[in-house]
Structures are given as C-alpha cells and as structure tokens.
C-alpha cells in the first residue's frame, strides 16, 4: 500500500509549549484511521499542520504518489490537492441556505471569474440532491443554515466535505451532538467513504471508535504513543495510564 499522506518527524512549538513533538504518521488509500488522545495531545494541531494552517518548525509532510511537500502550499492549494477538513465545532455559512453551502463546496474551478460565471448545471443539481439525500436534508435545501440544529449543522458540514470530493478526509469529532441513530448513520457513511478514500477521524468517544472498527493511533503530548487495533492499544499500559486515566 503506497501512502497518501506521510508526516515525518514534525515538531511545532507555541510560545515555548511543544504542541507536536517529533510526530510521524502515515495513511494510505483507501484506509480509515481513528486518532484518539486526551485533551492537549495535539490532535487539532496535527490537523492544522496537514491542512496548512500551522507551519511546523521541523519535519516533513508529503502528499500523494509524487511525495509533494505540503509545507510550501497554501491552505487553498492543499484543499485543492484533495484534503478536506471537517471542524470540531460545526462551521457552516450560517447566513446562507443549505443549497448554497453545498454549492460553494462543490468540486468545481475555484477562481473568482469562474465563480462569477458559474451556473448550476443539471449535474451539479443532481449531485447536490444526492448529497442532501445522503445527509438527510433533501427537504431542507432552501433552509438558512443558521437555524439548523447542532446535529444538522454537523451533517451539513459532512455534506460539504462530500461535495468537495477530497481524497483524504480529516474529520474532527463527527459524532458530537448527534443522537444514537445519527451516530449509526455517521458510522456507516464514514465506513463507506473509507472504501474509496483515506479517512482520519479524531474522536473522544471510545464507543464510536469501537464501531468504526479500524486502526487507531493514540497521541499523547504531541507524539504517537501507540498504534494498532483498538484492542491492541487498549492493552498497552501506557495508553491506559495517559488516556483512560489513573
């Protein structure tokens, strides 16, 4: 399996605090990976580095078969290269309708002129309808995103991620604020995506991770503490110490 994303020896320091400490991580395609770890373990910073929001002090982040360095690319270029991100706190454009949120995310040319001349084609319409169906919002396309419930916003953001059609999906706590039924739907959706995409899920909820049934990477103090199946990492004494608390 060739790796899609390869993070090697990355460190980043904020005001003397070492948020990421010589972290290495790789994921292939297709694959599902869960990243767990206590608060402050560096999960979000890790995502920030991969998506270009934060520049590491040392280390390399390579992407795709050609091994392009992501460190010299802007956030927009990285997103265009095929890395999509769902935030922990759902961030949708509250002032705009569900349809418009999806339309903006839809994979199409990203330049200003292209955006001015963009017309919603039948293909676009079908794709938006399909995604809306998938995220259970077929009847809400005209609704303003700001009045959706927390769970619905989560779904909409997942929908925007789908519309973007990335190769790698970085998903931060997808199940937060969802009902049991919605969680099951999310699990099924992520699993299905992982058949054709690389999916990294950051999650606190161990029950949810168990249901994902995938390889788990445990972060602690900015470094990888353990990696393997959930059973394997849970059997590791250090993991039990730092994460499950003693």
């Amino acid at each position: 399996m060739s790796s899609l994303l390869e993070v090697q020896g990355v460190s980043v320091t904020f005001d003397g605090f070492r948020a990421i400490n010589n972290l290495s991580f790789q994921i292939g395609m297709p694959e599902m990976r869960a990243v767990i770890g206590p608060n402050g373990a560096g999960k979000t910073t890790f995502m920030d580095i991969v998506t270009g929001k934060t520049r590491p002090d040392t280390g390399s982040v390579r992407w795709g078969d050609l091994g392009h360095s992501l460190l010299s690319m802007s956030e927009a270029q990285i997103a265009q290269a095929g890395i999509g991100r769902k935030f922990q706190r759902p961030t949708v454009f509250e002032d705009q309708s569900v349809h418009d949120n999806l339309r903006v995310a839809l994979k199409k040319p990203r330049g200003p002129i292209a955006a001015i001349l963009d017309r919603t084609t039948d293909t676009d319409r079908a794709r938006i309808a399909e995604i809306a169906e998938e995220i259970g919002m077929a009847g809400h396309l005209g609704t303003r995103a700001g009045i959706l419930s927390h769970g619905q916003k989560q779904w909409l953001e997942i929908g925007m991620l789908l519309a973007q059609d990335p190769k790698l999906l970085l998903v931060d706590e997808p199940a937060a604020g969802m009902t049991t039924e919605e969680r099951e739907h999310t699990t099924a959706l992520l699993k299905r995506l992982a058949e054709t995409h690389a999916v990294v899920v950051v999650e606190h909820d161990m029950e949810f991770v168990r249901r994902l049934d995938c390889r788990v990477t445990v972060l602690h103090e900015g470094a990888v503490l353990a990696e393997g199946s959930l059973e394997h990492v849970m059997a590791d004494d250090r993991v039990v110490d730092v994460y499950l608390g003693r």
């Binding site: 929001k53 927009a76 903006v104 990203r110 330049g111 200003p112 955006a115 001349l117 973007q164």
Partner: protein
C-alpha cells in the same frame, strides 16, 4: 437579463430610480416647471454619485467584510482625473480667445505655455507637471479615471491581503492610505495645485452656449444611469456563486480557505472593483460640485462613507443607497444654512455646528433600534405588508 425577473428588489429599485429621474426632469429649470433650482439639481445629482460610492462600500464591507476606511481616496482620484481634463480644456479655450486678438497667430507651444502659466501660477509654477500628460485628451483622461483608482486599489490590496492584514488593522491601513494621499496632494509641487485644488469644473469645454440649467440635468441623468447600471451589475454579481463565496469570506474566511478558495484573490477582486466604482462616481460628482481639493479625501470622508452604509444597513444594496441619500441630503440641509436655528434664551442651537452631534445621535439610535439599518426597516415594512 434574468436578474430582473428573479430579483424583486432590483426591479423596485430601478423603478423608483426611473420615477425619481423623470420627476426631477419634469421639475427642472431646463426641461420642466423650474420647481427645482439648478443648484438643487446639482445637489441631487451629486447625491446619486455618493449613493454609487456607498454601493461600492457595501460590496466591499457589507458583502465581503473588508471595512475599508479609504474608499473615498478612489472617489477623489476619479475627480482629479476628470478635473485635469476639464481645467486644461477650459483654460486653453480662454487662453486662445485672449491671444486671438494679436497680430501674429499664436503657435501651439505658446498656447500650451500660456495655459500652463494660467493654471499653475497659483502655486508658483509655470510648466506642466508630468501627471497632466494625458489631460489634453478626453479619451485618455477617461481611461485614467478607471485605471488610476483601479491600480492603486490593486497594489494596496495585493500588499495588504497577501500579508493577511484583516479587521481593524486593515481599516487603519486604509485610513493611512487616504491620509497619505491627501497630504501628498496638499503639497504645491505635487502638481495638482496643492490646497487650491482644481476649480471651475462646472464649465464644460465646448459647451459655453449651453447653460448650467441644461448641463446640470445632463449630469444628473448620467449619475442616475451610472447608479442604475452599477446597482444591476452589483445585484447580478452577488446573486452568483461569487456572492456566496464573498459572504462566506465575510463570515469565516478560514473556512473558505479550507474549501480550496484563494481568499486573497477574491478580496483583491472586490477591493479593486469597488475602487474603480468609486473612481467613476467621483468623476461624475466633481463636475457637478465644481471644485475638488485635497480636503475631499481627508480620512473623515471615508469614515462618513462607512457611516452611511452602516445607517442604511449593510449587506443589502438598497440599504447603502438609502443611507447615503438620507444622510448626505440631511447633511446638506443642516450645514447649508437652510435649517432654521433654534433660539433657547441665552443658548442658540446653530445647526452647522450641531449637525455632527445630530448625526452621531442618529447613528446611535439606528444601532440601538434598527440594527439592520434603514434598509432593514424597509424589509420589515415590506414583509408586514405581505403578511
């Protein structure tokens, strides 16, 4: 165009603008009853230009979230652009008339020299400064009216946005830009007549036989057409996916980046486009005002522009227009000596001095009781009607 059928506010706005233009024409001195004086026609025409500038401000601030406090600099540059041509052509005509009495007809060089002396003697110069090079050609001057504000906005925006200067820092930077430009123009050796500015701009070259009564209404029409076209174009722009994206940038620019959009390009596009719109508005405004000087682009002017949009309600195009029209007309009323002063015994309220207080009070009241501005009140009334 489908923008008319899809967007009700565009139809209503254009309808009102057409009715207003017809109304003013029917009451004008040149083509109607004369109920509206020439000077008031000019005030109305100038108000339409200010509405156009406010429309641009609403696009850049209300829709794209860039609180530029320097857009009046572009307005002023447009005014200087047309002013140089007007002054050159007009002065040259006067000089030719004066020299025509001589025995030997004057050479072109002599005319040019005499014109320069006439224009620049006020600042102790007698040669054409380099920036007047295009002033003898109307076509080139019109090109510069678009190109100079556009280029300044492009360069300034490029430097600011690529360094990701946002929020209040950007506002301060834009204030610095307009202040620097204003101070530069105040200098006599800049070549734009320092604090004297350019004057006599109401005299249109080659139109001596046509009275100001007709010229004033022609400029009023031109201003109305420019505002109407810009309104339709702006409505079309924000109804496209581009509009969705810039509103996204306003609300959460980092999110837009992670969707793969180069936020800087979008901001630069909007900043430059609105800079050009302001330049065009200024080029229509100053021939009606008759005079432009560096005071016009003092930092406070750009702040007023933002105040109009805030009072009118940002994020709705008609809000910007309503805000600019209401506030600037009230300003003309209170500071033009028309409003009767109020005597309170020993104290006397003179509106010229008290207008800023009134404006400040109005701003506070609108913020408290109509947070979406006067345009928001219009929405409220329209919705109520329909319900």
């Amino acid at each position: 165009m489908s923008i008319f059928t899809q967007n009700r506010s565009v139809r209503i706005f254009i309808g009102i603008l057409v009715l207003f233009t017809l109304g003013v024409t029917v009451m004008s001195e040149a083509y109607g009853t004369g109920a509206i004086s020439v000077s008031f026609t000019k005030v109305l025409g100038m108000t339409l230009c200010l509405c156009l500038a406010a429309l641009a401000m609403d696009l850049v601030w209300g829709y794209c979230g860039i609180l530029s406090l320097g857009h009046f600099a572009f307005f002023g540059l447009g005014g200087y652009g047309i002013g140089m041509w007007l002054m050159t052509a007009r002065t040259e005509a006067v000089v030719r008339a004066n020299l025509a009495g001589g025995v030997i007809p004057p050479t072109e060089a002599e005319v040019s020299q005499a014109t320069a002396l006439q224009i620049f003697s006020v600042v102790g110069a007698e040669d054409w400064p380099w920036m007047w090079a295009a002033s003898d050609s109307l076509f080139l001057s019109l090109v510069l009216i678009v190109a100079v504000p556009g280029l300044l906005a492009l360069v300034f925006g490029w430097l600011a946005f690529r360094s990701r200067v946002t929020g209040v820092y950007l506002s301060i930077l834009t204030q610095a830009m307009t202040l620097a430009l204003s101070l530069y123009l105040f200098q006599n050796d800049t070549g734009l007549r320092g604090n004297n500015g350019l004057s006599g701009l109401q005299n249109i070259p080659g139109a001596d036989a046509i009275g100001q009564d007709r010229i004033s209404i022609w400029f009023f029409w031109a201003s109305a057409v420019a505002l109407g076209l810009a309104y339709v174009a702006a409505a079309w722009l924000i109804s496209s996916k581009f509009g969705n994206i810039i509103r996204g940038i306003r609300d959460d620019e980092q999110r837009v980046r992670f969707l793969g959009y180069r936020v800087e390009s979008y901001k630069l596009f909007v900043f430059t486009l609105t800079g050009i719109l302001c330049g065009v508005a200024g080029a229509l405004y100053y021939p009606q005002a008759g005079i432009i000087n560096p005071d016009e682009i003092a930092p406070i002017a750009s702040i007023y522009l933002a105040v109009w949009v805030a009072i009118g309600g940002r994020g709705r195009l008609y809000g910007a227009v309503i805000g600019a029209a209401v506030v600037s007309l009230l300003s003309t009323y209170f500071t033009g000596g028309r409003a009767p002063d109020i005597a309170l015994g020993a104290f006397r309220i003179e509106w010229v001095d008290w207008w800023p207080v009134l404006l400040g009070l109005g701003f506070v009241l609108v913020t408290l009781f109509a947070p979406k501005g006067l345009g928001g009140l219009v929405d409220y009334i329209v919705r109520k009607d329909r319900a």
